[in-house]
Amino acid sequence: MHNLILKAKELLENKIVSVIIGFETGSSGKVRPVFITDSNKADSLIFDERCIQNLAVYLTKKEVKQFGKMGIVATLPIMRSIMVLISEQQLSPENVVVLGISGDGEVLDFADITVMQHYIEKCELGNPAKEQDMLATLNRLNMQEKFEFWQKEFSKCIKCYACRQSCPMCYCTRCAVECNQPQWIPVQSNNLGNMEWHILRAMHLAGRCISCGECGRACPVGIPCHLLTMHLVDQAQSYFGVYAGISDKMSSVLSTYAPNDKESFII
């Protein structure tokens, strides 16, 4: 923690970054995100096993970006989110400095994104063990049982979109559920609408999800919706042999697109 604070102070004092996105102590034993612009306030930064939120969600937020160059305290899922955001041209590598945190809590010094990429390559990239077990249990069910499991879970959904808002990869300023001409998904929270929403969300994250589990943690009613996207992590790996967020130049497995495409396929 001491090294993290020193590093944050150094970045702010030398004006290398304008803001540090990290964790501070919150209320009732919780931790929460903090945005530090003054090096004198960097002492409030903490890092411990409670600091699991995916802070990369803030890298595309207008009010955070307007500070200027951002430093971010980043565990592996955050590093991988950064890779996806750079790959998808939502974040410029020049606009971010990563204060990496290793699996055992040590501060990692990444000179640039390439160094971070080498670090990521050496890490275990599959779904966390706990979720692997849950997915294995679910996958043993037959199709009818799986359908019933998810119908029961989705019946709790209130369409608050905490799953979407907490995900760094859900950065669209206008989500498909907010289009009403045509209305792809019912606005109301009912069985059909809830299921359609969760399927749509999962499919939009197929090959892009980096297994942080933030969507499931954010859900106020406890729907394990992260298992849907994590299942697709396994699928993307088995069909295409890749994990998302391992380099800054990845094309998405389901929608490969480059700015210099001729687009002659558009009729």
Binding site: S27, K30, P33, Q53, I158, P186, V187, V221
Partner: protein
């Protein structure tokens, strides 16, 4: 107590709190009495959906090339409901909702549901760090909004206070289920007062441009969890949904935390960024509502702060705002 529960559910739907396997408590219609919890701190969702369902059909319509017709909802079909075991913050919230839905024009859906509702309140015997009812003029044993209030006693019995005519009817319906109170000690939770809401309202008048809002809401991710678990948030969206020539208009919960909430057709959004939306949430409850509805828009249940994925703790912020 089981007999009272059975009696009340004879001719009405009963809506009572049940703890699920994941330890989350939520209200269900007609659960078995043995599954009903009496010791819950707080349900995840509030009980506003009894009077303001997350989806309410407003009317049905048919369209053809030559004519269209509208069929109203038969409000008399709205069932009689007994709400069982709601805490004082939740029952007080019905008054707040009434001040919104019956402010100028009486919302007939809300009013009918409230008319058909009987509330068996349950005073709080436990509290946690997120509870702040005493800071907004309510208390763990407040009677507001209840028809009868149950209060746990040290010997395991419950003291019953009859509050309204509806409550009196319950007593008269089954007088043999009640006995006289013998001054047994009560178990009532303690909730520390954290701020003076009148001071908050006063200070908010001049704080619209205060940097406080940006500084304290950068972490807000802009979901609707706080609004949807809130017992007093009443914003809704209105949509038409049709299949072929037949369809319906309904209203469903909405949230001022969403970017789309105030987006104009022109593309202009008066609340373009999250800090403006967070400010709106606090201002509406603690400044605009006291001014226009003569009612505070918060009952201190603390659900929003428990549900928030990024620890936006409203009571903590109100403590600062009372002296800003």
């Amino acid at each position: 107590m089981a007999k009272l529960y059975a009696k009340l559910s004879e001719d009405r739907k009963i809506y009572a709190p049940v703890e699920a396997s994941d330890k989350k408590v939520n209200y269900q219609y007609n659960p078995d009495f043995k599954d009903v919890t009496f010791d819950h701190l707080q349900s995840t969702l509030s009980v506003k959906n009894v009077v303001f369902p997350k989806v309410e059909n407003l009317f049905y319509f048919t369209n053809s090339k030559t004519e269209s017709s509208v069929t109203d909802i038969d409000l008399d079909k709205i069932p009689e409901v007994v709400l069982w075991g709601a805490h004082p913050c939740d029952t007080a919230a019905y008054d707040v909702l009434r001040s919104i839905f019956c402010w100028d024009i009486k919302d007939e859906f809300f009013a009918k549901r409230l008319e058909k509702l009987t509330v068996v309140g349950l005073a709080c015997s436990t509290s946690d760090a997120y509870c702040f009812c005493t800071s907004v003029g309510i208390s763990p044993d407040a009677v507001k909004g209840s028809d009868i209030l149950l209060l746990k006693l040290e010997n395991g019995d419950y003291k019953v206070s009859i509050i309204t005519e509806k409550g009196k009817a319950i007593l008269e319906q089954s007088p043999d289920l009640f006995e006289s109170y013998n001054n047994e000690a009560e178990i009532v939770a303690t909730v520390k007062q954290r701020f003076d809401y009148k001071q908050v309202t006063e200070h908010l008048k001049d704080s619209f441009e205060n940097p406080f809002w940006v500084n304290n809401s950068l972490r807000c991710v802009g979901c609707g969890a706080c609004a949807y678990v809130c017992p007093t948030c009443a914003c809704f969206d209105i949509q038409d949904e049709a299949q072929g020539s037949y369809g319906r208009r309904y209203r469903s919960w909405d949230s001022c935390g969403f970017g789309l909430f105030t987006l104009h057709t022109s593309g202009h959004n008066p609340r373009e960024v999250q800090s403006q939306r967070w400010r709106q949430r606090v201002m509406h409850k603690f400044s605009y509502m006291p001014e226009r509805n003569e009612s505070l828009g918060c009952v201190g249940c603390g659900r929003c702060s428990r549900a928030c994925p990024v620890d936006m703790n409203i009571a903590e912020q109100l403590e600062v705002l009372q002296s800003i």
